[in-house]
Amino acid sequence: MTAKTEIWQGTLALMILKTLDALGPLHGYGIARRIEQTSGDLLSLNYGTLYPSLLKLEQEGWIVSEWGVSENNRKAKFYKLTRSGRKQLEREAKEWNQTTAIVARFFAPQEEHS
């Protein structure tokens, strides 16, 4: 079994927002599958941990939810990015890029030597 990376605290919310931004309204299961796929199955994700995060995002007003019907005719709750959620995503994405860029600089010289 390949060692899978545990998901980092705080990044899950960002992944959810990005997923909703990319795919539009989606239910919890769909988001979970999408995150797993996007990570190329490198992430070990307990689907259940997604729901408290979705609730938190909803409480903070970044997303809204609504009952609907899935592609397989199942009743499902769909989540949708709000306008403020989209702005939040932009902010967080920017921060994320900055952070990774900074961290990347620390590692760049080492790569040259190797």
């Binding site: 299961y29 259940g48 408290p52 609730l55 409480q59 903070e60 199942r74 009743k75």
Partner: protein
């Protein structure tokens, strides 16, 4: 902002059931299972895999719930629900505990409201702590008033005051549509309000020099007077009002919250206008002391320094005016002391008393809680064993304490409102005008804060005591209900002592209340030697300008009697310069004609009455005759004496026909005794009878006197007609203090003092009794819970139920007896200390002591009966199986 929104949503989540999420999870699983089956799994494997990927159904739900609500709060709500259930299951405990707290907090808050109104709330003046009450002093009187000229010198020569002013009371006759009325007022120097730091809300203050004889007469109205007499109209400024037949211009209205207790409820504030042109008037003499001083200290000057400076001036004045200012010193006191000095010790004593009651109440409730925690040992041990943390269990107790205290405090606040009304009602109206600061009594923020502090203290006590007990709780031991720790025994010992103390307190207070009630009853039974029922009394004052001469005054007196007598409902009427059951005093020094005289002071009460006085009062004539209406200034002076005078000065002689006069036997003063009347009580009910003589008002007329009317129907129904009849004769006659004789007696200081102290001590006693009894119950019940096993063994070994009853009742009886015995001793000592308040009742009054002991004994028996019954009904099998 976002965080707050989230928090609110989570708070909301506390109270809503979230079934939505179960549906969402279900649909999630279904979709996953569908996918898995499509991928070729068997339905069973598909479901297992879906659940595994989810990470467990319950874990997910719990994680979701933690986010949907606030976990800490949620368990708090659970504890609260649990507490409420527990309390509802135990109504006896709940009601007892909350009633205790309500009583304790209600009484404390009510008394504190009075303390706050009198002592904490600042006086409605600018920087009131810098204000001094300033007077002269002499050898006999520490606070002697200031004379006008001394005031002028003090004001000019002192180096310690920013300003100094004087004031004095003054009543005014005011003409109203219903006839003339006596209205309380004041005369002050020009800067009085500036010194206080009070500005009129309407109009202006007195300007400098407005208090001089040549200044125009002006008046400032009190707010209440403005509302009552002038309808609160702002065009009142500049209007004229006639006071004592002199027109005054209204120049201002005082603020609504303004009060000045030394001048009671003065309505018209006028300036001094000393009558300096009339030699011999009080104003014109340096030796006539009638003003009180008010001064504002200069910055940085102490009251002591001010006193020293005033004494220096007084010394100078003494040297300058040796006649009038001999031995005239000076005194100062903080103004607040003059205003609230009298009530301060009483209020603090009461506050101490209710504080003590509250403490006892809290200890009682704490002991009840302990009893409960004892019976809940098992429950707590089980919870502990199942993994409840100690904090969680302690929190349970804190919440329980909080709920009891919260309910008790709310009930206490409501009852304190009533208590305040009752206490306020205990203060008679004419005392109340001297305490205007009690007018806006109520639950203001400071009082509520005080209640909150008390509640916090009580909560701490209640959560702490079972929590401390909990810390000694051994899980295994508790579940086995096995041997008791020593802590239980220690509490029983302390508790017993506390209960004895509580019962002793209750005994002392009950005896006090009993003795006071008995004194009160005895006092009202005192024979006044006249019929006090169906008598209306009122004070009249006729204008000097019309009735200043004797013939006019006599004619008015006769007119009044004749007019009032014809009124329906009035059977007879008389006039008197002083009412009976009032005071001994207004005396004369007499000397008997034809007897040796060594200059001794034969001091006797002298009373001027109209001819029908004795028949109207229904007093007994013992010898001789009463006055006739025809006896006026044209006839020789005659008097009627009371029995005490006859006995004291004419032992074994017939006084009728004898004569006496003043110490010089001036011919004008010689009077002949024509009759002896039974001792009409002139002084207060409790005082002894003084010798007295009555002269005829027809022979020495007056323009101020009391009217005494005997009614043949309810007194109240006649009163309006009486005032009308008087005003028909002359509308400028003022009528004041109209009331009934019985009301006068009930409101008289001696009666009032005993009535109010009976109620006050009685109230305290009732609460103390209740607390003592509940305390006893708590201790005995606790002891029974501790001894359940022992009692079980006894019953198993053949002890009868009756024996068990005796066992428990004996334990309670010993405590009650100790309380009663010690209490009796203390009560006698306490009663001796308040002997002055007792009347016709010795401090060791046996009936009171026995009655109180019986009441206390029976209550104690009732309180211990409940736990005794529980002990007797112990099932030996279950008690022993608990091993």
């Amino acid at each position: 902002m976002r965080k707050l929104r989230a928090l609110l949503l989570r708070l909301k989540g506390l109270f809503s059931k979230n079934d939505d999420f179960a549906d969402e999870l279900e649909s999630h699983l279904q979709m996953h299972i569908d996918d898995n089956i499509r991928a070729g799994m068997s339905p069973q494997d598909a479901r297992r895999d879906a659940l595994m990927k989810l990470g467990g159904l319950d874990q997910t739900k719990e994680a979701y719930r933690d986010r949907a609500t606030i976990p800490f709060l949620e368990s708090l709500v659970q504890d609260l629900r649990f507490t409420l259930r527990q309390l509802r299951k135990n109504p006896a405990f709940t009601i007892t505990a909350t009633t205790m707290i309500a009583l304790g907090i209600g009484a404390s808050v009510a008394i504190f409201a009075f303390v706050d109104a009198a002592l904490i709330k600042p006086l409605p003046y600018q920087n009131p702590s810098r204000l001094l009450f300033v007077t002269e002093s002499n050898r006999d009187i520490p606070h002697a008033a200031i004379s006008y000229f001394d005031y002028l010198d003090w004001k000019k020569q002192n180096r310690v005051f920013d300003s100094m002013d004087v004031y004095g009371p003054r009543g005014f006759a005011v003409n109203t549509s219903a006839g003339a009325e006596m209205v309380p007022g004041a005369r002050t120097s020009d800067g009085f309000f500036r010194t206080l730091g009070v500005t009129p809300v309407l109009g202006r203050d007195f300007y400098q020099g407005e208090d001089l004889p040549e200044a125009p007469q002006t008046v400032i109205l009190s707010y209440a007077s403005w509302q009552k007499r002038f309808g609160g109209k702002s065009d009142v400024i500049g209007q004229s009002v006639t006071l004592y037949e002199v027109p005054y211009t209204i120049i201002g209205v005082l603020p609504q919250n303004f009060h000045f207790a030394p001048l009671e409820n003065a309505e018209f504030w006028t300036t001094l206008h000393p009558a300096l042109h009339l030699a011999g008037t009080c104003d014109a003499r340096r030796s006539c002391h009638y003003l009180n001083g008010l001064a504002r200290l200069k910055e940085g000057v102490s009251a002591e320094a001010a006193l020293a400076d005033l004494k220096r001036i007084a010394k100078d004045l003494e040297a300058q005016y040796p006649d009038s200012n001999r031995d005239q010193g000076a005194t100062v006191a903080p103004l607040s002391e003059i205003i609230v000095g009298d009530v301060k010790p009483i209020l603090l004593l009461l506050l101490g008393g209710v504080g003590l009651l509250l403490l006892i109440a809290c200890i009682n409730v704490a002991s009840l809680l302990l009893v409960r925690s004892e019976t809940r040992r098992r429950e707590l041990s089980v919870r502990r064993a199942l993994g409840a943390t100690r904090t969680r269990l302690i929190r349970q107790f804190v919440i329980e304490g909080l709920v009891i205290v919260a309910v008790g405090t709310i009930a206490g606040l409501v009852s304190s409102y009533w208590a305040m009304q009752i206490l306020n009602g205990l203060i008679p109206k004419d005392m109340m005008v001297g305490m205007p600061y009690f007018d806006d009594l109520g639950l203001n923020p400071r009082v509520l804060m005080f209640a909150l502090v008390l509640a916090g203290f009580a909560t701490a006590l209640f959560s702490l005591s079972p929590a401390l007990r909990l810390s000694t709780l051994d899980v295994r031991e508790g579940m086995a209900e096995g041997a008791r720790g020593s802590a239980g025994k220690a509490w029983t010992r302390i508790g017993s002592k506390l209960v004895i103390l509580e019962l002793t307190t209750a005994m002392v207070l009950l005896v006090g209340a009993g003795l006071l009630a008995k004194s009160f009853h005895r006092l009202l039974q005192v024979d006044t030697n006249f019929e006090t029922r169906n008598l209306v009394t009122m004070r009249l004052r006729a204008p000097l300008s019309t009735y200043g001469e004797d013939p006019q005054a006599v004619a008015l007196q006769r007119n009044l009697v004749a007019e009032i007598r014809t009124l329906p409902g009035v059977s007879s009427v008389a006039l008197a310069d002083t009412l009976p059951v009032n005071f001994n005093g207004n005396t004369d020094w007499i000397r008997f004609v034809g007897r040796a005289y060594g200059g001794e002071h034969n001091e006797v009460n002298q009373r001027g009455v109209s001819s029908d006085y004795f028949t109207t009062l229904q007093a007994n004539l013992l010898r001789g005759r009463m006055f006739t209406d025809a006896e006026d200034q044209s006839k020789p002076q005659v008097v009627v004496i009371n029995q005490t005078l006859a006995k004291k000065y004419f032992p074994g002689e017939d006084p009728v026909g004898q004569r006496f006069g003043d110490t010089q036997l001036t011919p004008k003063s010689i009077k002949e005794i024509v009759g002896i009347v039974d001792d009409i009580r002139e002084g207060p009910l409790e005082s002894e009878i003084w010798p007295a003589y009555y002269y005829s008002l027809n022979q020495q007329p007056d323009i101020t006197y009391w009217v005494v009317a005997r009614t043949s129907q309810a007194e109240q129904s006649v009163m309006p007609a009486l005032a009308d009849a008087i005003h028909r004769i002359d509308s400028r006659i003022t009528v004041s203090y109209m009331t009934t004789m019985t009301a006068r007696i009930n409101e008289s200081p001696t009666v009032y003092l005993r009535r109010s102290s009976t109620w006050l001590v009685g109230g305290f006693a009732a609460v103390a009794l209740l607390l003592g009894v509940v305390g006893l119950y708590g201790v005995i019940a606790y002891s029974v819970s501790q001894r359940t096993r022992e009692i079980g063994v006894r019953i198993a070994l053949g002890a009868q139920r009756g024996t068990v009853y005796r066992l428990i009742l004996k334990e309670a009886g010993v405590l009650a007896l100790a309380g009663i015995v010690i209490g009796t001793g203390c009560a006698i000592v306490a009663a001796s200390l308040m002997r002055k308040l007792l009347f016709g009742t010795p401090p060791w009054d046996i009936t009171t002591l026995v009655c109180v002991a019986v009441v206390l004994g029976v209550s104690a028996l009732l309180a211990s009966f409940l736990p005794a019954r529980r002990a007797a009904s112990v099932d030996p099998i279950s008690a022993l199986r608990a091993e």
